[in-house]
Amino acid sequence: MSVIMDFTKTAMKNLFSKPATLQYPAKPRLYPERSRGHIEIRIDDCIMCGMCSRACMSGAITVERDKKTWTIERMGCVQCGACVNVCPKKCLDIVPGYTQPSGEKTVDSFSQNEKPEK
Amino acid sequence: MTELLFALVCLPFASAFILGLVRSSQVRRIVTYLSTISTIGVALVFCIAYFVRGAYPIEIELSHSFIHITDMCMLALEVCLMLLIVVMSIKYKKYHAALFSVIQTGAIIWYELKSGWMPEYEYSRLYIDWLTIIMVFIIAVVGTLITVYALGYMHDYHHHHTEFKDRRKFFFAMLYIFLGAMFGLVFSNSLSWMYFFWEITSVVSFLLIGYTKTKEAIDNSFTALWMNLLGGCGFAGGIIWIGHSNGISDMQSLISTDSATIVAPVILLSFAALTKSAQLPFSKWLLGAMVAPTPSSALLHSATMVKAGVYLLLRLSPVLANNYAGTLVSLIGGFTFLIMSMLAITVSDGKKVLAYSTISNLGLITACAGVGVEETVWAGVFLLIFHAISKSLLFQTVGSIEHATGSRDIETMHGLSRRHPYLAWTLVIGIAGMYLAPFGMLISKWAALKAFVDSGSIILVLLLCFGSATTLFYWTKWMATVLASKTNDVKAKNTTSANQWFSILVHAIMMIALCFFFPLISSAIIIPYINNVFADATEVISNDNIIIMLLMLFSIFAIPAAAWISAKHTKYRKVTRYINGVNAGDQMNYIDSYGEKRRFFLANWYMEDIFGEKKIWMPSMIISSVAIVVLMVITLGGAI
């Protein structure tokens, strides 16, 4: 049996209840702990073996053993976590919180010599 | 007055005679120009004379001997026409036409010579009033201009169609005979005289439809003939009945009687009028008539001859009010209006659209006449005027477009405004004249709607409401097609000859002028006419609205002009069309599924599933036939 305007009940209920909108960015979004946002490195633990770089499907990581730098193209990382899984030193983590959109392609470089630079 | 009148009737016949003889197109042209100038001149003088004499109806007194001779001549000519029809019928084996012709001519001869039923005339046989003047004006101006147009057109026509025999002599002669007959028809007050001219127009139409002598043309011409002759039988029957039972033999006496006994004969006359105006169920012939060269379509099958039917109805309208005859006529008219405007949606042949629209509009006039009250007659007369001019304009323009582009199909007219801007704009003026505020047809429709409501004919109101919507659709579609601009179209060479142009332009100017002078025409011509016929005429469209209409009229010229100027100053960047990102970059093509360039094409809608001839033709024929038969049986049966 066809009903005309079957959706009315839902529509009226929606109209008179609070909207479902999360109000981002006025209210920050809370992410579950497993949420894969971006890669963090504890650079001091890194042995510059380059395993992560080879595992990375999208080639986002560059490891320069001689300069002792570990560099990640933030706009090239697909958050797959492959690098995390292969790292022998378990110095990589994938944590909630995505890289902010930007007009430039963000590249983060970490060096064992200096403070992290951007 | 009398002299002028005879001049008007005889001039065209004389021209016809000459044109029938000359072979040289040079001479033909000169004769046509001269006839045109003289006919229009005489007509104008005639109209002015009428106005100067106080604009009262005039009866032209004729001597008895003249009347007697004329009567006899007419009878003789009718016999000739009958013989012509019989011979043609036998030649082409279409015997029913001959049958109808013999019946009616026989009946009329018997009635006039033998029966003794023929009463004395109360009024003179010739009669002039404002309606006559309007018709005279239309016939003289529109009619002769079309003959001028025909000069150029027929030249091109035979240039394009070498397969047809060049029978231009015959063609022009027929056009002029027809014009003479039309003058005669509108001047006649005597029903028998009217009948005589009526027959001539039927036969001329028949001959012109068969002009090309192709199988289709012959078939269609016979369809036209037998339907018109059937109507003629009705006419003859009506004359005899009315003469016998009411002692009436002229129109003026007829419309001034208020006896209920005239309803039956009036129905017969109306029947004749319905066939002539191609109302349902007799619409087929007018569609078939479109095989004839365009000038004859314009002249006979749109602007004038088919108007004879509604003219007769308008004349009869006082006796149509509030009786079965009127109900029959108005219902058939309203119904035809709706059905034909629906059918007009489904065709793409420009001339066919015009044909459907013609029948449809005639339907509206018929409905107005059938209701037969002051307001509807007012609207009917206006519709008649506007329709004559704008349809003639449209037919001519479409004819010229066909010659310029090789096709008269609407689908080939996309972007015509770029290729043939002048023709496109005259076409647009014609179309706008047919349905747009504030042009005349719309005003009349508006008045008709009001009048229908006032007279309580709710069914007609509905037919009009729905019919307006369908009318809107097919005209808008056409107009939008013509005005679409395909950017890479270039202006094509204008091949339309000067005489065609002259006629088209004069029509376009008349069209616009009519809109401006519409209040004047209303108060100076139509209201007096209505006053005379109905004794008192109400103000159909109040002053208030006339002001608004004029405002709208100005705005339709002023606003575009202003918009044009302001648009000129609007800065914009020319870009490609949006085609889902696969525009080939050249505006007309896109990259198709094979990676090739393909031209996109935007056809119009025809809605054949809904309004198609297959769907609605038969039912509407049946409905209208049943309506006619039932109503005729009721009244005729009641009368006998």
């Binding site: 305007m5 959706f7 009315t8 529509a11 009226m12 929606n14 109209l15 909207p19 909108t21 109000q23 | 996309h414 747009l436 505020a437 508006w446 009001k450 409501v453 309580g456 709710i458 109101v461 509905l462 409401c465 729905f466 307006s468 919507a469 369908t470 659709f473 808008t476 107009m479 939008a480 005005l483 679409a484 601009s485 950017t487 208030d544 609205n545 608004i548 209409m549 709208m552 705005s555 606003i559 575009p560 202003a562 918009a563 044009w564 302001s566 648009a567 609007t570 800065k571 914009y572 960047r573 020319k574 870009v575 069309r577 949006y578 085609i579 889902n580 935007l602 809608w605 599933d609 809904i610």
Partner: protein, 297 residues
């Protein structure tokens, strides 16, 4: 007499000045309520104005400049229609003028000869074909109920509100309003919503200022159409203005609700539904009215 014209003039000026604000605001409320019915927060109330301001500031691109001309004429005719209505003139004339305005919108779209714009224009024509009989019949209904086509006189009559005599026509008119206001289920030619097979239909090729014109004329048109709805309620009694306001509000709300609870129908169904509605509801109403008026008088 003079007085009458002054009052007309005041109304006309008020319409010209206020209609965009009322129309824009209504449209804002509409969007807000729609959003809430969909469980969203929705745009700010003044969003329609922001949109138009933005459009006016944007670059205008066009296929050809006749497009702009037709659009301007369209705008003027829409305003003219409203002026005729609020000036209290003949209702039939008002509707004819409305038709003319719509014609120019169609011309503006089809003159671009662009696939989606033209298909939208074709659909717009079908829409006109669908609603036109009802529109004319509405005018006829008012005439039968009040004996006049003049808005001024319809408003001044002191019988019961017209809706009492014209319930069928009211429903019928509200029905076709879904078409005129471009709401589901009949927003075929162009839609306020993003995803339509027509892309943006009739407005596809209008950008920047041109699209702003379309939006503004839409506001004018909406106010005018709401005026027609109000006409069903208003009579000489000043209190009736209140009824009219309530009536218009309820009607509009119902239209929004319909908009949010229906799928878009196909053109054939639209055409059939509107004609049948017209032929049934409208005609019965008119016939009954005819009988009553004839019977009573």
């Amino acid at each position: 007499m003079m007085n009458r014209y002054i009052i007309s003039a005041i109304f006309i000026i008020a319409y010209i000045v206020l209609a965009p604000f009322i129309g824009g605001l209504t449209s804002g409320v509409d969007r807000k309520i729609s959003a809430r019915m969909q469980g969203r927060q929705g745009p700010p109330l003044l969003q329609p104005f922001y949109d138009v301001v933005k459009l006016l500031k944007k670059e205008t691109v066009a296929i050809n400049h006749v497009q702009i001309i037709y659009l301007l004429i369209f705008l003027v005719f829409v305003i003219f229609t409203g002026c005729l209505f609020f000036g209290g003139f003949d209702l039939l004339l008002v509707f004819f003028s409305l038709t003319t305005s719509n014609l120019f919108l169609i011309l503006a779209a089809s003159s671009s000869h662009s696939p989606y714009a033209s298909m939208g224009a074709n659909r717009e024509m079908v829409q006109m074909l669908s609603y036109e009989p009802m529109v004319l019949l509405t005018a006829v209904g008012f005439y039968l109920a009040t004996g006049t086509f003049k808005v001024r006189e319809i408003v001044m009559q002191d019988n019961l509100p017209n809706i009492i005599k014209l319930p069928g026509l009211f429903v019928g008119f509200a029905f076709i309003l879904t078409i005129k206001l471009r709401k589901h289920p009949f927003d075929l030619a162009t839609s306020h919503h993003a995803h339509q097979e027509m892309v943006k239909g009739i407005t596809t090729e209008f950008s920047g200022e041109m699209f702003a014109i379309v939006e503004i004329s839409h506001w004018y048109e909406n106010v005018f159409l709401m005026g027609v709805i109000a006409l069903f309620f208003i009579n000489a009694n000043p209190l009736s203005i209140l009824y009219a306001l309530i009536g218009v509000t309820i009607t509009y709300f119902v239209l929004i609700l319909v908009d949010n609870t229906c799928a878009r129908l196909k053109w054939k169904l639209m055409f059939k539904n509107t004609w049948i509605t017209t032929a049934v509801i409208g005609v019965i109403n008119v016939f009954v009215l005819e009988v009553i008026t004839k019977g009573v008088i």
